[in-house]
Amino acid sequence: MHNKSLTELAAGLRAGEFTSVELTQHFLDRIEKYDESLNSFITVTPEIALAQAAEADAQIAAGTAGPLTGIPMALKDIFCTDGVKTSCASKMLDNFISPYNATVVEKLKAAGMPMLGKTNMDEFAMGSSNESSYYGAVKNPWDTERVPGGSSGGSAAAVAARLVPMATGTDTGGSIRQPASLTGITGIKPTYGRVSRFGMIAYASSLDQGGVFARDAADCALVLGAMAGFDEKDSTSSEREVEDYAAGLDQSLQGLRIGVPAEYFGEGLDEGVAASIKSALDKYKELGAEIVEIELPNTGLAIPSYYVIAPAECSANLSRLDGVRYGHRCEDPVDLEDMYKRSRAEGFGSEVKRRIMVGTYALSAGYYDAYYLKAQKVRRKIKDDFVQAFENVDVIMGPVSPTTAFKLGEKSDDPVSMYLSDIYTLAVNLAGLPAISVPVEPAEGLPVGLQIIGNYFDESRLLNVAHQFQQATDWHKQSPEGFGG
C-alpha cells in the first residue's frame, strides 16, 4: 500500500480494496517500525489519525468523499495544530499545545486527510541539515550517516522512506526543495502568497511559504490544490483563484523554452550532480523542449541578501517567545530581565540565537542602511533578473543543491559553509517565485534533485513540466532500501 500514489490510494479506497482506517494503521505501523532509525517524527498522533480515518471511511461510504479523503498525511511541526504539541523543534515550544489550527491544517482536515503526526525539522526552520532540532537530527533514509537536508528534513525523510504518502513543508530559503532533492522525492514551494501563512510559525515572514512533499508531481498537484488559496487571515495571501493543477499535467512539452543560467553551474557544483542535471536537461530536449542559455547575474548576491533579511525578520518574529504567555520559562527568575534572558537563552538553540543576533545587529541604529536597506535593494535586483529572464523562457532549470546529502556533523560547526549550500535556492524565495525539486539520476547512489523555477503563479506549468519528466523516467519511483520495500 505504501508504494501507491495518492491517486492509486484514492482509487483503492473508493473500490473498497482497503479502508482509510486500515491504510492509516498501515502507515502508523511503518512509523512505529522504522522511524527509530530516522527520527523523522516529533509527535505521532495515532488516536487522532484513526478517528479521522474512521470519519473518512464514513464519508467514503456515504459518497461525500473528495479526492484526498482518507489518505493519511503528516505535518511539519511548524503548522499550529489545535490541541496538539506544536514545537517548531525547539525547547522553547516543547510544552506548547497549540490552541488553534493553521489554515493549512484546516484545509487538509476539510479535505479528509487523517493526520499521522508532526514531523521533525530544524529548530524554527533555521538550517539546511535538520541537525538543529531540539529533538535530535533526522537521518537520510538513503544513508543514515547522512543528513536529509533541512529545514523540512523530517517531512522529506518520512515521505522518502514511505512512512507517509505526503507531508507538508515550508520553504524560506530552500527548506522544501533541498530536502526533497537530498532524499529523492518531489517537493514544491509555491509562489509567495499562494498558500496561507496563518498558523505557520514565522521564521522570515516575507520569504516563508508552505508547500508539499510527495512521491511525484501528480501527487503534489492534488495536495497543493487542496492547500492553496486566499485566506482572509493572511494579509500577504493572494486573492488569485487556484487553478486545477491536475488538469494541466498531461500537456506536451513540445516547444517549451527552458532557461539554463550559467551562474547555476559554476564553481562549487559537484561534478556528479552537474552530470545528473545535464542528463535530465537532455531528457527534456527529447521531450521537445528547447534549452536557452540565460543570465541571472545577481545570483551571487542572494546569499548575503538572504542572510540579512531572514535574520532581521526572525529577530522580531521570535521576540514573542518571551516566557510570558506560553512556552518555556526559566526557573525562579530574579527579575523581569532575568526571566526574558534566561528563558530565551535556555529555550533557543545556538543556530537560532546566532540568527537572532545577526538580525538584531543588522537592524540596529547605525547599521540599518548598510545591511537591511541594502539587502532589500539587492533583493529587487535579484527579482528583476528573474523578471527579465521570464520574458524569454517558460521555466528555469538548474540544480537544487551543489552536492548530494552530506554527512551528519560535516557542516554543523561552520554556519557559513552550511549557508553556502543554499546558493541555488535562496534567490527563488527572495523573488517570491514558485519552484519544484524533481528527482533525477542519482550521483554515487545518492539522490539528486533538479530545480525547476516558474514564473509567478505558474504552478500549473511547473507541475506539468515535472510530471512529463516523471512520465518518461522512473527516478521518482526509486525508494531507499531497508524500509520494507
Binding site: 515550544l93 498558523g199 516575507s206 482572509e232 493572511d234 494579509s235 532581521a312 522580531a316 506560553y326 540599518y368
Partner: protein
C-alpha cells in the same frame, strides 16, 4: 537670565472602532481581564495581522480635519522592545511613512489672539496591554484586553511656549477627535493620553535645549502642572550649573514633582523596519472621497455657523462648540425652543455650573436637552420668571420631573393677571405708608423696595415686567 520654554505634545487617541487594529477582538472597555484577547492579540506563534478599515478611515478623517497631507501610501513598521504588556515583542506602528503628514491647528490664546500649532504627523499603532501592580506575591499581573486597540498618535511641532498653550492645544485636539467621532475622549479610561516634550533655552537662543519627555499625563490640569514643574526644575538645574539630561520623566501628582524613570532609560534601540506581515496601505481616491463625504462639521465651522445662524457672541459660540456633545445639546434646545440666546445662556450658565459641580459630562447630565427645552419654553411664554426657572431647573436636576409637572405641583405659575398684581400692590402701599410718603416726596430709589415687597408677597410668581409697569402707575398716580 530670562528663559524661554519649548513644548511639543504627543497625544495618543484611542480610535473608537468596535474591533482591534489587527484582530476581530472587541475593544470594549472594562471587561474581565484577558477575555478580549484572541490568538492574534496574545501573539501566539504563527498568527498574522489584518488591518481594520475603520481605523484607517478615522485616521484619514483626522488628517482631513487638520488640513494635513495624507499620502497615497503609508507603511506599518515594527518597533522592537520587550515588555510584558507587549505580547509580540514589537509594537506595530508607523515610522517613516505615517498615514497623516504635516497639518496644523489654531488655538485661542488668553489674550484673544489665535496661534497656529503645527502637527508634524499622526500615525496608527497598536495600544499595549496593562500591567497591574497590586499584590500577586510580589509579581505583576498582565491584562491584554487593551493589547492591539487602535491608537492614533498625534505629534505636534515644538510650537508651544508655555503650559497654557499646551493645554489649549490638547483641549483643541480633544474636542476635534470627539467632533469627528473618531475617539470618545474619555481620559479616565485612558482613551486620550498625552506625553509632553519640554525644554528650556535662554531667551533669544535659536537652538533647542535638551528635552525631557513627560509620560502619560492624563488630565488637562496635570498637563499644565507637570509642565510648569518641569520647566522650573530644568531652570533650577541649569542655573545651579548642571545640565538637563534627555530622559523620560513621570509626573507624580501626589508629590507634585516629576521624577526620572531610570528603569526605562537604558539605551533604547527600537530597530524599526517595515512589518513583513503587512503590505503598504494605499489611500485611494475612492477611500478619500467616501471619508470626505462623512466628514462632519468641524468645531471652527460650527462656531461660525452658531454666530451667524443663532446670533450668538463669539464667546458663547466658542464655549458651546468646545465639545461636540455640548454643541449637540445646545443645538437641540435652541432649535426646539426657537430661543437661541436664552438657550445659550442656560447651557453655558445653569447647566454648565451644575455639571461642573457634579463633575459630570454633558452626556451624563441629569437635565436632558428635552427637559431644558420644556423649561425654556415656559420662560419664553412667561409662565415662569427666570428666577423661578432656576428653582425649577434644580428640581428637574434632582429628578422631581419635567418643568410643567414641577410648575404645576409647586404652583409656580407666574401671576400675569393685572388685577391680582394690582391688589397685591395696594396691600403693600397700605402696609408701608412711611415709605410711600418718602417716595412721593422724591425719593425715587424706594421704587426698588416696593418691587421687592411685591415680589416677596407673590412668592416670586408675579411677572416682574408687569409689576414694574403697574407699580409705576400706582406710585406716580
Amino acid at each position: 537670565m530670562e528663559w524661554e520654554t519649548v513644548i511639543g505634545l504627543e497625544i495618543h487617541a484611542q480610535l473608537s472602532t468596535k474591533s482591534k487594529l489587527f484582530s476581530g477582538s472587541s475593544t470594549a472597555y472594562g471587561a474581565e481581564p484577558n477575555t478580549q484577547a484572541n490568538v492574534v492579540d496574545l501573539a501566539m506563534p504563527g498568527v498574522l495581522p489584518v488591518l481594520n478599515i475603520d481605523a484607517v478611515r478615522k485616521a484619514v478623517m483626522f488628517g482631513m480635519a487638520i488640513e494635513a497631507d495624507v499620502p497615497d501610501v503609508s507603511v506599518f513598521a515594527r518597533k522592537n522592545y520587550f515588555y510584558p504588556d507587549l505580547p509580540q515583542g514589537y509594537q506595530i506602528s508607523q515610522f517613516d511613512k505615517p498615514i497623516v503628514g504635516l497639518g496644523h491647528l489654531d488655538i485661542e490664546l488668553e489674550n484673544g489672539e489665535t496661534k497656529r500649532i503645527g502637527v508634524t504627523r499622526a500615525h496608527l499603532e497598536q495600544d499595549a496591554g496593562k500591567s497591574l501592580h497590586k499584590d500577586f506575591a510580589g509579581q505583576t499581573g498582565v491584562d491584554l484586553n487593551r493589547s492591539g486597540t487602535p491608537l492614533l498618535e498625534i505629534v505636534s511641532e515644538p510650537d508651544m511656549s508655555n503650559a497654557k498653550e499646551a493645554v489649549a492645544y490638547m483641549k483643541k485636539i480633544h474636542s476635534l477627535v470627539q467632533f469627528l467621532g473618531i475617539c470618545d475622549g474619555n481620559m479616565q479610561e485612558g482613551s486620550f493620553r498625552c506625553d509632553a516634550n519640554v525644554s528650556v533655552r535662554p531667551k533669544g537662543q535659536a537652538e533647542f535645549g535638551t528635552r525631557a519627555e513627560l509620560k502619560n499625563i492624563n488630565s488637562f490640569k496635570f498637563v499644565e502642572r507637570a509642565i510648569n514643574i518641569e520647566v522650573e526644575r530644568q531652570i533650577d538645574v541649569i542655573e545651579a550649573g548642571g545640565e538637563v539630561v534627555q530622559e523620560t520623566r513621570l509626573f507624580d501628582p501626589d508629590k507634585d514633582e516629576t521624577r526620572s524613570m531610570r528603569s526605562k532609560e537604558e539605551a533604547n534601540d527600537y530597530r524599526y523596519f517595515p512589518d513583513p506581515d503587512l503590505l503598504p496601505v494605499a489611500i485611494t481616491q475612492e477611500l478619500r472621497d467616501s471619508v470626505r463625504a462623512e466628514l462632519p462639521e468641524l468645531p471652527e465651522q460650527k462656531k461660525q455657523r452658531f454666530i451667524n445662524q443663532f446670533e450668538l457672541s463669539a464667546f458663547d459660540a466658542g464655549v458651546l462648540t468646545s465639545n461636540r456633545a455640548l454643541s449637540d445639546y445646545f443645538e437641540a434646545v435652541a432649535e426646539a425652543t426657537g430661543e437661541a440666546k436664552l438657550s445659550a445662556n442656560w447651557v453655558n450658565g445653569e447647566l454648565a455650573s451644575h455639571l461642573n459641580k457634579a463633575e459630570l459630562d454633558v452626556t451624563e447630565s441629569k437635565v436632558s436637552a428635552e427637559q431644558l427645552t420644556g423649561l425654556i419654553k415656559r420662560i419664553a411664554d412667561n409662565t415662569i420668571s427666570g428666577k423661578i426657572a432656576k428653582d425649577v431647573f434644580e428640581a428637574i436636576w434632582n429628578g422631581e420631573g419635567d418643568a410643567d409637572e414641577i410648575i404645576e405641583a409647586k404652583g409656580l405659575k407666574q401671576i400675569t393677571d393685572s388685577g391680582a398684581i394690582e391688589s397685591i400692590i395696594d396691600e403693600i402701599i397700605a402696609a408701608n405708608p412711611g415709605q410711600y410718603e418718602q417716595y412721593r416726596s422724591g425719593k425715587d430709589k424706594l421704587f426698588g423696595f416696593f418691587v421687592g415687597q411685591v415680589m416677596k408677597a407673590s412668592k416670586g410668581k408675579a411677572n416682574p415686567a408687569e409689576v414694574n409697569r403697574l407699580l409705576k402707575a400706582k406710585l406716580d398716580a
